[in-house]
Amino acid sequence: MINYIFKRILYAIPILIGVNLLTFTLFFVVNSPDEVARLHLGNKRVTQEQIQSWNEQRGYNFPLFFNQSETGLNVIKKTIFYEKSVKLFYFDFGISDSGRDIKYDIKQRMWPSLAIALPSLLVGLMINITFALFFVFFRATKVDYIGVIFCVALMSISSLFYIIGGQYLISKLLQLVPISGYAQGVDAIKFLILPVFISVIYGIGSGTRWYRSLFLEEIEKDYVKTAKSKGLSEVSVLFNHVFKNALIPILTGVVVILPLLFLGSLIVESFFGIPGLGSYTIDAIQSQDFAIVRAMVFLGTILYIFGLILTDISYTLVDPRVRLK
């Protein structure tokens, strides 16, 4: 087991290097730092000195790979590749283009993101599974048919509609909770209810359908037929056999996204003004703060790979048939 985890972590390294090279190519080779600086300073009548000083402030004033003017190790160290890409491996995200410490910001902002994403995930999971079990219980009847059509309809609505509609209806017309904002501590709840509620509603369509198909796949298997022929009731088969066995794919599907919950949801956070990592990313994209985008790409990749490893571990925990080698 430990060997396996160790192997998986080793396997993650080439992937991280690949991601790192890819982001480096995207952000520094496709457009040179000078061009990025020119964009930030406004395109017309920018002098070379202005570009120079802009780059110097943010540490973009090095050559890409080899610094000929330095000696020793500094030939490699005093380069953009080392400063901006390799340092990500030490979780040194540097400063953003607007001069803020990215690592500090991320530490501050990951908790509000989690405060929305985790409840949304858990509540959504419960509701979706309940609905799915309900439809599976009434499978091949009108209830199931109408339910599926309803799910497809829910899936077809843009996420923006849920957010804008929910904000208008609940915050503006009914005035139950504030439209947007965030507070520390217990006060945060009143700001969190609506985004969580909307995220859950948005997920019902696709979630229910997905779990329904998982249950249906399970219900065709032989052990279900055996259980039924032994005379067990439909409800007992559904809960004791089908549900338990379907939990394996459900659990692994959930575990893989657990680490990514820290990244938060881009649009929900920015609509509700929650100071999480999602709105951080959106703000960075909109103000073209590439240092932050780069850091988020790397962080997202690490979290995703971490999620994959967690998934493998959780497999062995829930399914004794699986042994990791």
């Binding site: 457009n31 964009l39 804008i164 990514l260 881009l266 649009i267 994209i285 590439f290 997202g300 990749t301």
Partner: protein, 458 residues
């Protein structure tokens, strides 16, 4: 003069390949049987008709022309700089005039009060009357009666059209071969009903929009209905063009990895795992941000804003395609790995068939069902993604008509008092209709093509 924008050309290629595929299906019996499943289901027929209607609008909107104008001073012909599509020309009477600002659906005056000065210098705050529509009822002065009469007239027009078509088909059936393309439809009741409803609705809407702003006007007084209809092309292009970009990567790399295996497999697997590990929104965002920087620093020589916006749409599809082929590639790799071991492939290998022929003859046809299911599944997700990307400012060009841009522009209108709801409403409704039928269609297609689908319970 015809103008071919970059996306137009690719869109024609897509239409052409759909045509080729239909031709291929008609010749191949087992695939035809599978598709007949789709045509047999009620949902299948309805969604095909609705989607074809959307596709037709997109095609009409993709044939662009420049109009010739005669210059009297130099006595020579020159071309207008404005590019129009055939759809624009058809709809021209409904949208050619702009109002001043917002007006609500079916309203006869502007949405906000303005100060006007009467003859004897008295200022008054009134709702100014609309200039071009809303006050030009054709059939009756009362709005409700007028709308009702318009509906009856469009019904009559529909029956006239229907009669002509009916006669056409009637004679076709009597005089011509039995086995024409419409066999699966067989003038099926559901098909005819859906088609009739769509035709009646479009005639009705057209008649109405000659007299009213059916969905109101936006901030600068443009008909919202017209904007929503123009957005159909953008939505469909993003849904289809992205797939076309993605397919070659997914199919070739997937098959190579699965069938050839070994080192090739390792490399391809590494590439798609790496791409897949980056959260897709962030990858798309970084690629588009870099494209924006590139386009800002290297002002390519565009003839006009249309080509610039068009190029951006094209690049958006390219980027979406380049970042989304990994999922399909992995599926295809697994499937071709399975197929490699199947007896008939092993047999043809022993007969000395080369790799290329095996891939073309045996592997390709047997993975096509996965490809088709993925294409139709992805389509609706891409249409929805466009709106979100435009909201984050990494979507289509702001001058392009798109639902995302409409929503983005209308977001602030929600805080106005009283609220301006119709822009949002129409963008969401149009998007909902397209995505809903695409989803229903993909369900039916998956049921027909996926051997694993829960057929017994559908």
């Amino acid at each position: 003069m015809f103008v071919f924008l970059l996306t137009d050309i690719f869109f024609y290629i897509i239409i052409f390949s759909i045509g080729l595929y239909i031709f291929y299906v008609r010749k191949t019996k087992d695939i035809l049987e599978t598709w007949k499943h789709v045509f047999k289901s009620r949902t299948g027929i309805i969604s095909i008709v609705v989607l074809s209607f959307f596709l037709l609008i997109a095609i009409l909107d993709s044939i662009h022309i420049k109009e010739k104008i005669y210059n009297e001073q130099t006595e020579s012909f020159s071309y207008e700089s404005e590019i129009k599509s055939v759809l624009d020309i058809i709809l021209l009477p409904t949208y050619k005039n702009y109002e001043k600002s917002y007006s609500s659906p079916f309203s006869s005056n502007l949405y906000s009060k303005e100060t006007i000065i009467l003859e004897n210098n008295i200022e008054r705050r009134v709702y100014p009357k609309l200039l071009y529509k809303g006050n030009h009822n054709k059939y009756a002065s009362d709005n409700t009666v007028n709308i009702l009469l318009t509906f009856i007239i469009s019904l009559l027009k529909y029956f006239f059209v229907f009669l002509i078509f009916y006669l056409f088909f009637y004679f076709r059936i009597i005089f011509k071969r039995k086995n024409n393309i419409f066999t699966p439809f067989k003038l099926n009741k559901v098909f005819l009903m859906t088609l009739s409803i769509i035709v009646i609705l479009s005639i009705f809407l057209y008649e109405l929009s000659l007299q009213y702003y059916v969905l109101g006007t936006d901030k600068v007084g443009v008909d919202v209905l017209y904007k929503s209809i123009k957005s159909i092309r953008t939505g469909i292009l993003i849904g289809t063009l992205t797939t076309i970009v993605m397919l070659p990567f997914a199919i070739f790399l997937g098959i190579f990895a699965g069938y050839i295996g070994g080192f090739v497999d390792d490399v391809i697997q590494y590439i798609y795992t790496t791409l897949n590990s980056i959260p897709s929104v962030l990858l798309i965002a970084s690629a588009i941000l870099m494209l924006q920087v590139y386009m800002a620093n290297n002002p390519l020589n565009f003839e006009n804003i249309y080509e610039r916006a068009d190029l951006r749409l094209f690049f958006l599809c390219m980027i979406l395609g380049l970042t989304s082929w990994t999922g399909l590639c992995r599926l295809l790799r697994g499937e071709s790995m399975k197929l490699r071991e199947v007896e008939y492939v092993q047999a043809s290998k022993t007969f000395g068939l080369n790799r290329f022929s095996i891939i073309v003859r045996h592997i390709m046809p047997n993975i096509m069902h996965i490809v088709i299911i993925t294409i139709v599944l992805d389509f609706s997700a891409l249409v929805l993604a466009e709106a979100v990307l435009s909201y984050v400012n990494i979507g289509v060009d702001p001058t392009t008509y798109s639902w995302g841009n409409m929503i983005n522009a209308a977001r602030l209108e929600m805080s106005k008092e009283p609220i301006v709801w119709w822009s949002l409403f129409s963008a969401f409704t149009f998007m909902f209709i397209l995505v809903l039928f695409a989803n229903l269609f993909s369900d039916v297609v998956r049921d027909a093509f996926d051997p694993r689908s829960n057929k017994n319970y559908e």
